[in-house]
């Protein structure tokens, strides 16, 4: 049974529907990426999974539980971690507090932040006392991923995690994601624009257009024709 299963999900903003009957299944332990042009509904999809957007019809099953109507904070506690587009660092909380806040949803409570995180993101250690909102864009992105990791999630949803990140860190993020996937068995769903990155990272892909999933498969099958058809200008 897939870890995350969306069936026939429709989502609207007010009267205007933006997702139409989306079906999507992500297996435990895999890395999937969602591709698509601007405004096709990728962000909306992730937001619906974490519960920030209401699903008007269809159902979302996570880890064998129906969560379609579950409040967001409970979904987080069930093990869904969301790293949004635009990072959403809590601006006036210190980096340390931001990280600690990330542990709220964790099952086993611990006071200390595991050193592991600083291994993944050494930059954070120097800035622990600074306010999160003062970091540069790229630094905030790293903080956001670190924060997401700290809840020990079963699945991580990342919305364009490489936007505004310097190449070497993009590389690291890629490695980190692979590593946490490998070592901790965390399932990863990434919305991505950069196809190269997606190809290298993910095993599975979904391509969206106009609010629907129009193609999916293994990244090996992500042919140039597909790319051209759905992602080119």
């Amino acid at each position: 049974m897939p870890l995350l299963n969306l069936s026939d999900v429709t989502v609207s903003y007010g009267q205007t529907p933006v997702l139409f009957n989306v079906d999507m299944a992500v297996e435990k332990g895999e890395i999937a990426c969602i591709l698509g042009r601007n405004g096709v509904g990728k962000t909306t999809l992730l937001r619906s999974v974490i519960g920030l957007n209401k699903v008007s019809s269809g159902s979302i099953i996570f880890d064998a539980d129906e969560i379609t109507k579950t409040p967001t904070y409970l979904r987080a506690r069930y093990g869904i971690s969301f790293i949004p587009q635009g990072r959403e660092i809590i601006p006036y909380l210190s980096v340390l507090d931001n990280l600690k806040l990330g542990m709220t949803a964790a099952k086993q409570k611990s006071k200390k932040i595991s050193e592991e995180i600083f291994e993944f993101f050494p930059m954070l250690k120097q800035h622990l006392k600074r306010q999160g909102g003062l970091l540069s864009g790229g630094q905030q992105q790293q903080l956001a991923i670190a924060r997401g990791l700290l809840s020990n999630p079963k699945i991580m949803l990342l919305d364009e995690p490489t936007e505004g990140i310097q190449p070497s860190i993009v590389q690291e993020i890629e490695e980190t994601l692979k590593r946490i996937n490998r070592e901790k068995g965390i399932t990863v769903v990434v919305v991505e624009q950069k196809i190269d990155f997606a190809r290298q990272l993910a095993q599975k892909f979904f391509i969206m257009e106009k609010g629907s999933v129009v193609a999916k498969g293994n990244t090996a099958d992500l042919t140039d024709t597909l790319v051209h058809k759905y992602l080119a200008v």
């Binding site: 007010g14 042009r37 601007n38 405004g39 200008v233």
Partner: protein, 408 residues
């Protein structure tokens, strides 16, 4: 926005406005003296609401000090009327106003004396509040102060000026304010009858409404609205945000001042009660209930709330409680105020058009509510044609001629 503006003062809007104006014009002849008087007062309050809407609804500056501008204009006029009375029919001997006599003043203070001349008083009625607003505005808008801090400053101004006016009894009449004023006379001796005053006020209100509407439909209105949302961003587009804010703030104070000036001959007194935070809050309520950024909304709200208060008072002494509950209901269930009720009907009409329904009621969009065949829309309909024309113009770039029609 020449063409746009011409066509957005559309026939429908004019018609609705004209009918409303007519109704108000015959009102004093059918509704009796009290209603006429009350409506005149509520019209002035409505104008005060419009003036606050300009700075709050459009520019995002929430002010609790609009009563201050109103009152400053009112005092300018009240001094004139009082001094006019003193010269002819002062009960308490001499030409000094009664309250000055009681407080031991021997002669008219130099800063009040000029107000005995009508032209000076008439100018002061606008200039005093406007100048005060300009000084305050230049002081605060050219700094980094923003948002709720400006609101707090206006609270402090209202509160401080109330205390100040009350404590300066010899000059201001203290809590009593200036009472016992003469009627307004024009052209040396022509006493304006109540009905004349009513029409003066009605025409003034109509003029302010039309003028504000015209102003906010211009590019200027657009700038105001963007200041409201994010004042920093627009300065990187080359707009001097401070001068826009100071301008609208001063203008609004001037309008409020005239309303205050006309209020005195109508009400026959002015007092610090209109300076206070309570009255300032009242003005804020009119705008909020009427709908921010709608101009006509505050006017309607002032009239409706005034009438509501007047009639609920007949039912229960605890009318304040009822008004409070109604306010809560409006806030919770009508987030866009009374005017928020309107567009829905218009939206129905609009579904036939190509455009998505607007979800704001201000500025451009509001204009379109009334006349959905604006050139703007025609422009969109034409866009297919222009696309071809334009792609020829830029044919040099092969890629861009393909157009970025990815979302089509």
């Amino acid at each position: 926005m020449g063409r746009l503006r011409q066509s957005t003062v559309p026939v429908k809007l004019l018609a609705i406005g004209g009918i409303a104006f007519l109704i108000l014009a015959i009102l004093p002849f059918v509704a009796g003296e009290f209603q006429a008087n009350l409506m005149a007062k509520l019209l002035l309050f409505g104008v005060l609401g419009i003036s606050l809407d300009l700075v709050w609804g459009f520019t995002g500056i929430l002010s609790f000090a609009h009563g201050v501008f109103f009152t400053l204009g009112g005092y300018a006029m009240a001094y004139y009327l009082k001094l006019n009375l003193s010269a002819t029919a002062n009960n308490y001997g001499g030409t000094l106003p009664d309250f000055m006599v009681w407080n031991g003043l021997k002669e008219l203070p130099w800063f009040i004396a000029p107000l005995q001349f009508f032209p000076i008083a008439a100018i002061a009625m606008v200039a005093l509040p406007a100048a005060f607003a300009y000084i305050i505005g230049s002081f605060i808008f050219r700094s980094k102060v923003s948002g709720v801090y400006i609101t707090i400053i206006t609270l402090a101004i209202a509160s401080a000026l109330t205390t100040f006016f009350v404590s300066q009894q010899a000059y201001t009449g203290g809590t009593n304010g200036i009472t016992d004023v003469s009627r307004l006379t024009l052209f040396g001796g022509l006493v304006i009858p109540p009905i004349g005053l009513y029409f003066m006020i009605l025409i003034f209100a109509a003029a302010v409404l039309a003028g504000s509407y015209w102003l906010t439909q211009s590019n200027f209105g657009l700038v105001l609205r963007s200041i409201k949302e994010n004042e920093q961003r627009i300065s990187y587009l080359g707009y001097d945000v401070a001068s826009f804010k100071i301008f609208i703030w001063t203008l609004s104070a001037g309008i409020a001042g005239i309303a205050g000036g006309l209020f005195v001959p109508l009400n026959r007194f002015i007092s610090p009660v209109y300076l206070g935070v309570a009255f300032g809050t009242q003005v804020v309520i009119w705008v909020a209930v009427g709908g921010r950024g709608t101009l006509v909304g505050p006017l309607i709200a002032a009239i409706l709330l005034g009438q509501l208060q007047n009639s609920v008072d007949r039912i229960t002494q605890d009318w304040q409680l009822i008004v409070g509950i109604m306010l809560l209901i409006v806030v919770l269930f009508l987030p866009n105020g009374l005017m928020g009720l309107l567009p829905k009907q218009f939206k129905l009409a609009e579904q036939s058009s190509l455009l998505p329904a607007p979800n704001t009621t201000s500025g451009f969009v509001q204009a379109r509510l009334f006349d959905w065949f604006t050139p703007l829309q025609r422009m969109v309909q034409r866009s297919g044609r222009s696309l071809i024309t334009w792609s020829r113009t830029v044919s040099g770039s092969a890629r861009s001629s393909k157009g970025r029609s990815k979302l089509k």
